[in-house]
Symmetry: C2
Subunit: 209 residues, 2 copies
Amino acid sequence: MELHGYFRSSASYRVRIGLNLKGLSFEYKAVNLLKNEQRAEEYTRLNPQGLVPALVDGEQVLTQSLAILEWLDETHPQPALLPDSPTERARIRALAYGIACDIQPIQNLRILRYLQSEYGLSDEQKMGWIRHWIHEGFAALENQLHPAPFAAGDKPGLFECCLMPQIYSAERFGMDIADYPAIHRIMLACNEIPAFIEARPENQPDSTL
Amino acid sequence: MELHGYFRSSASYRVRIGLNLKGLSFEYKAVNLLKNEQRAEEYTRLNPQGLVPALVDGEQVLTQSLAILEWLDETHPQPALLPDSPTERARIRALAYGIACDIQPIQNLRILRYLQSEYGLSDEQKMGWIRHWIHEGFAALENQLHPAPFAAGDKPGLFECCLMPQIYSAERFGMDIADYPAIHRIMLACNEIPAFIEARPENQPDSTL
């Protein structure tokens, strides 16, 4: 499989974690968002939406990180990213969407660029924007996380694939994760696991470009 | 089942369509977002995230529209909201997330309120913001939709549950759906189906409050 992504893209980072948790090897193809390579024809032929990541498996091209993670769980069931029971699956998906729908899309690069170019937001105002929406989302998640090592119990899965990239972004923008004890506890547990460590932005080949 | 929602909320509207497509009856409980009832303790006891919708089934409370729709498909499989094959499921989920992650969260009420209160955006600027992100998302979807009546073929499902509420919002803000021929074609097909008609905001009891 080939994963087309960008080292700092949350969505790319989610899929790297998922592939690693499944023990699947993949070739990493860097798409530089700062150079708008995601809008170049070479990439939009793969993903007409012009967003990273895209996962190529033979003739198939998969897009949208959460759709890719669900597909991985359906086609490579072990170890599972989602629990067995429909109720628990719904609970974990809801937590994951609490990040993937309610935090990340609001504070990603294309939004920040637009806020600056259209409304002249300063760097400080953009930082305020980012922190506000991450705080809203993290505070809501705090109330919903159970006191187990991971959201679903003793193993990380779909939620942690979304959480760790969001934490990376929060820390990059100066937030202290210790302010969110349940999230912090999960973070410390994930930080011990090679699948998460290897997926980190700083461990990708394009991190130094 | 009880559905706690708001007539104009896209996420509530998605779940109404899903329940109707499955032929499941439910009691509708209005949560007035303009009065911030979603932040009142009565509601946050149900959903600590303070967002609509929440679906109550006996002792269970389900939140996040997409998690609810996946749960409905797992617990009430027929008629299916997702295709059978993992590849097709991934394609339809990716299309749905193209709305649920990449359009709706950026232009919903809480974002518009924040843009106004924090950065003083005028009504006209807010309209520009809304239209920009809907256009970006719809233009990308146009390139990905096949020439069948619905995204997955001859039956509507998860994608259409997300699309029709987004179209409602686009039209409300003065966009012409005919500018997006593939989306327009799907819209016309959905407009003939009672499950979609009954789910419309104007057909909810709280639309006149």
